[in-house]
């Protein structure tokens, strides 16, 4: 290894050696309780510095037991001894160069699968190893039965169960360390084996390098690290070997370029054997419940039906409970508040009364009336998230998309779009290829976000009554079909030849924590109310002002003039100027569609906005408006993030133009088809 990585701890070590102190090194992966054990043993008798030439913290101290003093070095936390990080280089260099008298490997009894990997490397080094089996209490709490004596027999090195946080087993550990120092413990380590088809290569490399390995590195370890592709070892041996021998070694390494995985695989098989021998993992009821539920919920076909059923249930709850509540709030609260405000402001200037009653109460009030709908949405999704179902939803959707040929890389960002298009577009950063990422960004707003769904959930029952559920379903399906069609093209054209996989570690199903769900709903409701009090309030006030200026008549207002200017396009989709304006105001925030309709129609009917809308439009217009709302230009926040992620006004404006065209064309087709069939 290079000289630069050599820990210059020689002076300290020499000092301890002069003092005759045995040196003990603590090794372990991060978060295995190594530092807790170090602090427990050394107390205040420790000093902290940096490893020479590194910014990695070095901790060293002394402790006494039964009249004997020991020097203890806390090695940096490392996952393995391959030169992946400065910590790993420091740890292995220290062990190989400073030759501590005993290395105590601290492993977690609760996660032996992960923590024994380092032991599989340490056990191959020329040091006395003692395994401190920490976190026995955590393992017991998780229902694991870990048998230290079985693990000891399997490893062939001493194993001592401890719980460092409770100072349990420390005396026993020190006793074994003392015995190890005196050479009085059995030490017959069982080493991991390299796979048969690579063992010959290993022998060949070892033969070639053995005579040239610099001190103090063990030749067999260096040969193994060469096969693993360890960069530090490769550099060291390249400079240590004569050119012709290096070429021969290099040829073997090229032929066995998969040895990196084979060596690690051999170690995992060794870890697996140790775990199988020493750990009894009782089948928890919760696990088997998860498995049973996942046979259906995560099934490629049945899982889709479950997902469809759950979404249907959410819509049904929304329309059955949320919509009547919304109507009640609209008529009783907003209507009552409007009358009260109008009476209270009878003597005030017309614009004060108008702004408050028609603008703010009509606009913001209408938006706030769909809080019950949103609460059901938030609660349903929060509940599904908390019980662990959303992970399954993502999995079955990914499965479906994969079957359709849609690339996994673009699916996950798109899935997040069901919540909000902003993180969805930011999530496209996982896509390395720029054309593919750009196209995913451009189609991401096709995924109906919560805000859009809430607008549809508000309007669908008003327009379609008992059929609202099917119409909403149809609209979601319509958006998704458009998305899949575009996504499939994207996959065929831009992801051609690329392979990608997503591996999901899904959580166990949990009984929902109602407090967590309640808190989540509360936080989202508060956020929504804040939004209503800012963006939606401003838009409502502006819409009201434009609807009364200059003469106080809505039909001659600036807003009407603007709406009528655009009405010819709106007419193609069945919209009058009011609906056209309502659609345009969804740009700052999707909920503004309701606010604008509230301002423009709210005062027209005492039965509330929903009834006013039903009386004003045909079914063909209603369905066209909902479809166009689903496909219309993304909201301002989404457009801003598209600009940020593409760093191009050209693509941002192209995206706006694309959705404008798609939504208008869809509106025209749907309106004319619906009219043609007599809706």
């Amino acid at each position: 290894m290079s000289v630069a990585t050599r820990p210059a701890s020689a002076s300290l070590r020499d000092k301890h050696k002069r003092a005759g102190l045995p040196m003990i090194a603590l090794a372990g992966q991060p978060n295995m309780g190594k530092s807790t054990l170090f602090n427990l043993l050394t107390g205040l008798n420790q000093h902290v510095g940096n490893w020479p030439g590194k910014t990695v913290e070095r901790r060293e101290g002394n402790f006494s037991m039964e009249g004997h003093e020991y020097n203890l070095v806390d090695l940096p936390g490392t996952y393995s001894l391959t030169a992946n990080s400065p910590e790993e280089v420091i740890a292995r260099e220290f062990i190989l160069r400073e030759s501590p008298d005993v290395v105590v490997a601290v492993v977690s009894a609760a996660n032996l699968e992960r923590s024994l990997y380092l032991v599989s490397e340490l056990i191959c080094l020329p040091v006395r190893l003692v395994v401190a089996l920490n976190m026995m209490d955590v393992a017991a709490g998780e229902g694991l039965i870990v048998e230290p004596e079985v693990l000891e027999a399997a490893l062939g090195v001493p194993v001592v169960p401890i719980t460092a946080t409770k100072a349990q087993g420390i005396r026993e550990l020190l006793y074994i360390v003392r015995k190890a120092l005196e050479g009085k413990t059995a030490y017959i380590p069982r080493l991991p084996e390299i796979r048969a088809d690579h063992s010959e290569a290993y022998s060949d490399v070892l033969k070639l390098v053995a005579a040239h390995v610099p001190t103090p590195y063990p030749p067999d370890w260096m040969a193994l690290k060469l096969l693993e592709g360890d960069l530090e070892v490769t550099r060291t041996m390249q400079s240590a070997l004569p050119a012709e021998i290096w070429e021969a070694v290099h040829d073997i390494l090229i032929q066995h370029d998969d040895a990196m995985l084979a060596v690690a695989s051999g170690r995992y098989e060794w870890v697996g054997r140790m775990v199988r021998a020493a750990v009894v993992r009782p089948r928890l009821g919760q696990i088997s419940l998860t498995e049973r539920l996942d046979r259906v919920a995560a099934h490629p076909i049945w899982g889709l039906f479950v997902l469809a059923g759950i979404l249907g249930l959410v819509f049904w709850l929304t329309f059955t409970i949320g919509a009547p509540l919304q109507a009640w709030l609209d008529v009783v609260i907003v209507g009552g508040l409007s009358k009260l405000a109008a009476a209270a402001l009878a003597g005030a200037p017309w614009w004060v009364s108008g702004l408050l009653v028609d603008g703010i109460i009509g606009g913001v009030g209408s938006v706030l009336t769909f809080l019950p709908i949103l609460v059901i949405f938030f609660a349903a999704f929060g509940l599904l998230e908390d019980v662990g179902y959303m992970a399954r939803a993502a999995y079955v959707m990914d499965n479906l998309m994969h079957l359709m040929g849609l690339h996994g890389k673009s699916f996950l960002p798109l899935f997040l779009g069901f919540g909000c298009n902003v993180p969805s577009i930011m999530g496209t950063r996982v896509i390395d290829s720029w054309p593919a990422r750009l196209l995913t960004i451009l189609i991401a707003p096709l995924v109906p976000c919560t805000a859009r769904m809430a607008v549809v959930a508000f309007l669908a029952p008003a327009f379609f009554g008992a059929n609202a559920l099917w119409v909403t379903w149809g609209l979601v399906l319509f958006s998704l079909i458009t998305l899949v069609a575009l996504g499939t093209v994207l996959n065929r054209v831009l992801f051609k030849g690329e392979r990608s996989a997503f591996i999901m570690e899904m959580p166990l199903y949990h009984i929902p924590n109602w407090r967590t769900v309640g808190l989540l709903v509360w936080q989202r409701v508060i956020s929504f109310v804040k939004k209503a009090g800012t963006v939606i309030l401003v838009v409502s006030a502006v819409i009201w002002a434009l609807s009364v200026l200059p003469g106080g008549e809505i039909e001659t207002s600036y807003l009407a003039q603007f709406g009528k200017f655009l009405e010819p396009v709106g007419r193609l989709m069945g919209f009058d100027w009011r609906l056209t304006v309502a659609l345009l105001t969804t740009f700052p925030a999707k909920e503004n569609a309701i606010a604008t309709l509230g301002v423009l129609y709210g005062g027209a009917n005492e039965s509330g906005l929903a009834v006013a809308l039903t009386q004003s439009f045909s079914t063909a217009t209603a369905i066209s408006f909902l479809a166009v709302t689903m496909l219309f230009v993304p909201c301002l926040a989404t457009v801003a993030v598209i600009k940020q992620e593409t760093n191009s006004w050209r693509w941002t404006l192209a995206n706006i133009a694309m959705f404008l065209v798609i939504s208008i064309v869809a509106g025209i087709v749907i309106y004319n088809t619906a009219t043609w069939i007599g809706l």
């Binding site: 992960r114 995992y268 998230e385 997040l416």
Partner: protein
């Protein structure tokens, strides 16, 4: 075992860690450890979604992509081969 896992991953598509554990005749914890190891080796990357803090206030999936909420969300690893 690690090679078999890597071959499964290389085949592409969505994979469930629990099912992989069954296929490899090992525990989900072992698969989790191997996935972490493959990440350390540079074969896999932990999926990073967009920042949920930037999401719309009405986002119903807010928190879904928060890696600190492992109790109820998925840990996603990605593998890409060109």
């Amino acid at each position: 075992m690690l090679e078999t896992l890597m071959n499964q991953i290389r085949a592409g598509g969505p994979l469930d860690a629990a099912k992989l554990a069954v296929q490899l005749n090992t525990s989900p914890q072992m698969v989790e450890a191997m996935l972490e190891h493959l990440r350390q080796m540079g074969f896999l990357r932990a999926y990073e979604s967009g920042s949920c803090s930037d999401a719309c206030q009405a986002c119903s999936l807010k928190g879904f992509c928060d890696p600190n909420k492992k109790r109820s969300t998925i840990q996603i690893w990605r593998y890409d081969e060109h």
